[in-house]
Amino acid sequence: MKKILVVDDDADILDMMQLILKGEGYEVQTSLNGACFQQMYSELPDLIILDILLSGADGREICQQVKSREETRHIPVILFSAHFSARDITATIGADAFLPKPFHLVELINLVKRYL
């Protein structure tokens, strides 16, 4: 089963993402601030969905870390944010795609399918 890590500082959005993605047959791990990025090494996810403005953490840094390490570089990262302007930094920080919030389920699922 493919594993997806979702990072967002809103617990309700995490619950929702879990429901949607589990419904599509993925294994989902969630994190409020990307702290579990450190634990990721025992079991790397196949895809990361990452919010940019996190309380107490910076999604951009997390993305750059993922993309700068040899062992995690290959993992696709989808940024999702309520700031549409965040789209412009997608390429700069090495992320693979951008999903503006709010989104339709079908948009999310299509995007995830493209990378898994």
């Binding site: 959005i13 929702m16 419904g23 309520a82 549409f84 789209r87 412009d88 709010p102 339709h104």
Partner: protein, 527 residues
């Protein structure tokens, strides 16, 4: 004790600072005394006053011995008796200290980007501190019998004005440049700075140095200094305004001394009084204008940040709402519960509306700030239109949206933004044709241009309003149209997006018969 060690270590550095400052103070003072001094001691071009106050503000009160030594020595060498030179030295030192104290006491900002900073300097610190220096200095000269009582007043006046102008122009000039501007300067701005510099220099040369040998009695051209100063103030804030004033002041002083400026009718000292008053008024005017502009810019930036943050905060709960509604929709669709599904569809429509409204408001604020970014990618217009029409068809059961024609080729632009334009126009077509049954999207192309039109058969737009419809906040108001609420920003945004794609947008409409909104895009355009 570590503290003592620290002080010992820093002592030579302190000494170097004072000596350096003393050297600069002394040499600029010497220069000033050689230029049109009234009664040998009251100078009208007195760089040290402005320099000293800026230095105290930037490096602290501890620099005062440099001022005292500099002022004392320069006056002693200028022929003042020992005690008189000491008196003048004390006056000049107190001037810088008192001025700096007043400014620091009232939390003066070195950037001079608020009106209160300018007024604090112009109305309080400048006249008061120069008053102290002029009064102590002239009293010393009088008591030391260097000048007669009869000439005290003119000496005092020249001293006061000379010091004030120095504090007015030089201090803020140095303060605004004490922090080097960081960040990359765009080429356009760089070019503008170059052009403005040239403009200031040419105007300065014409007005003050008699370029083209203008006879000031026949052609009084002094007013020419206003355009470059206003340009600098409006576009480059206090730093720009002060740099322009500073440059003009140097040219003006040189021109007046050489007898080439409009201020050359009497003795040099009288001419300099007139010139300095003129420059003083110019400086105050420009500084106030620049400060007000800076305040406005700051306010706009805060407003943009607020709107951007508010948009983010509004969209986050919407994301949850929309997600859960769609999850519920999936669940009830499996159970085949039609009644619940129709309720959920209504909720989804409302959330879509809300989401679009928030996006529009955010785009508008970014557009006004000039910060709306555009991607440059190949866009398959036919696929984009098909997808949008398919999605919007779900929102109306009454209208049949059809596509006529094909683009056949890709265009270069921002897919997301172009999609936004299409959604906006088709949604409007649905909204403003409540009794019609069809909406047609036409596509036509020539070898270099693609034209897309959205035709509805609705209420139409009165002729008088057709020109204005793309303006920001514009809404067609008439009794019956009140039933179509909106903010009047959708079309403005669409128009701006098309314009940024080097395209055009227009409307043809007949009241009561319908409207056709069209836009054309170049095939090889840039976003």
């Amino acid at each position: 004790m570590p503290d003592l060690h620290h002080r010992n270590y820093r002592y030579p550095w302190y000494l170097i600072k004072i000596l350096t400052f003393f050297a600069i103070y002394f040499s600029t003072a010497k220069l000033g005394l050689s230029l049109g001094a009234v009664n040998r001691f009251a100078t009208l071009v007195w760089v040290p006053s402005g320099l000293a106050m800026a230095a105290i503000l930037l490096f602290g009160y501890r620099l005062w011995p440099g001022i005292l030594m500099g002022a004392f020595l320069v006056n002693l060498l200028n022929g003042a008796p020992l005690l008189v030179a000491v008196g003048i030295g004390i006056g000049n030192t107190l001037e810088a200290l008192s001025g700096a104290y007043i400014l620091k006491r009232y939390e003066f900002s070195h950037a001079l980007d608020h009106l209160r900073d300018v007024l604090l300097l112009v109305l309080l610190a400048m006249p008061l501190s120069a008053f102290i220096s002029a009064t102590i200095g002239v009293s010393s000269l009088f008591l030391g019998k260097v000048i007669a009582f009869s000439s005290s007043y003119s000496t005092w006046g020249a001293w006061w004005i000379g010091d004030m102008i120095s504090i007015l122009i030089l201090t803020p000039f140095l303060l605004t440049w004490s922090k080097w501007p960081h960040g990359k300067v765009p080429v356009k701005i760089f070019a503008e700075i170059g052009l403005l510099t040239l403009f200031v220099l040419v105007v300065g040369l014409i007005v003050f140095l008699g370029l083209f040998r203008t006879d000031h009695r026949v052609y009084p051209v002094t007013y020419l200094v206003f355009p470059p100063l206003i340009w600098a103030s409006l576009r480059f804030g206090p730093r720009g305004a002060l740099s322009a004033i500073f440059a003009l002041s140097i040219l003006a002083v040189v021109g007046t001394i050489k007898g080439l400026s409009p201020f050359t009718s009497g003795r040099l000292s009288d001419n300099l009084v007139l010139l300095q008053s003129f420059m003083g008024i110019l400086a105050v005017t420009s500084m106030i204008l620049a400060a007000v502009m800076a305040e406005r810019r700051e306010f706009e930036q805060r407003k943009d940040e607020f709107i951007s943050m508010a948009g983010h905060e509004l969209k986050t709960p919407l994301t949850s709402l929309q997600g859960y509604i769609e999850l519920l929709h999936m669940k009830f669709a499996q159970q085949g519960n039609q009644e619940t599904l129709s309720y959920l569809a209504k909720m989804a429509t409302q959330i879509n509306k809300l989401s679009k409204l928030i996006t529009d408001l955010l785009d508008l604020s970014k557009m006004q700030a000039g910060k709306l970014a555009f991607a440059e990618e190949a866009v398959d217009v036919d696929a984009l239109i098909r997808e949008i029409v398919e999605n919007l068809q779900y929102t109306t059961s009454q209208h049949q949206i059809s596509i006529e024609g094909m683009a056949q080729r890709e265009i270069v632009g921002d897919q997301e933004r172009l999609g936004q334009v299409l959604i906006n126009l088709i949604t409007n077509a649905i909204k403003y044709s409540p009794h019609a049954k069809k909406i047609i999207v036409h596509l036509a192309h020539t070898h270099d241009t693609l034209t897309i039109s959205i035709q509805d058969f609705g209420i139409g737009i009165p002729k008088a309003y057709q020109e204005k419809i793309f303006e920001r906040y514009f809404r067609v108001y008439s009794g019956k149209d009140r039933t179509y609420p909106g903010l009047g920003i959708g079309l403005y945004i669409a128009y701006q997006i098309i314009e940024r794609h080097s395209g055009k947008m227009w409307v043809e409409s007949c009241e009561g018969q319908g409207s056709t909104f069209s836009f054309s895009l170049p095939f090889v355009g840039k976003a």
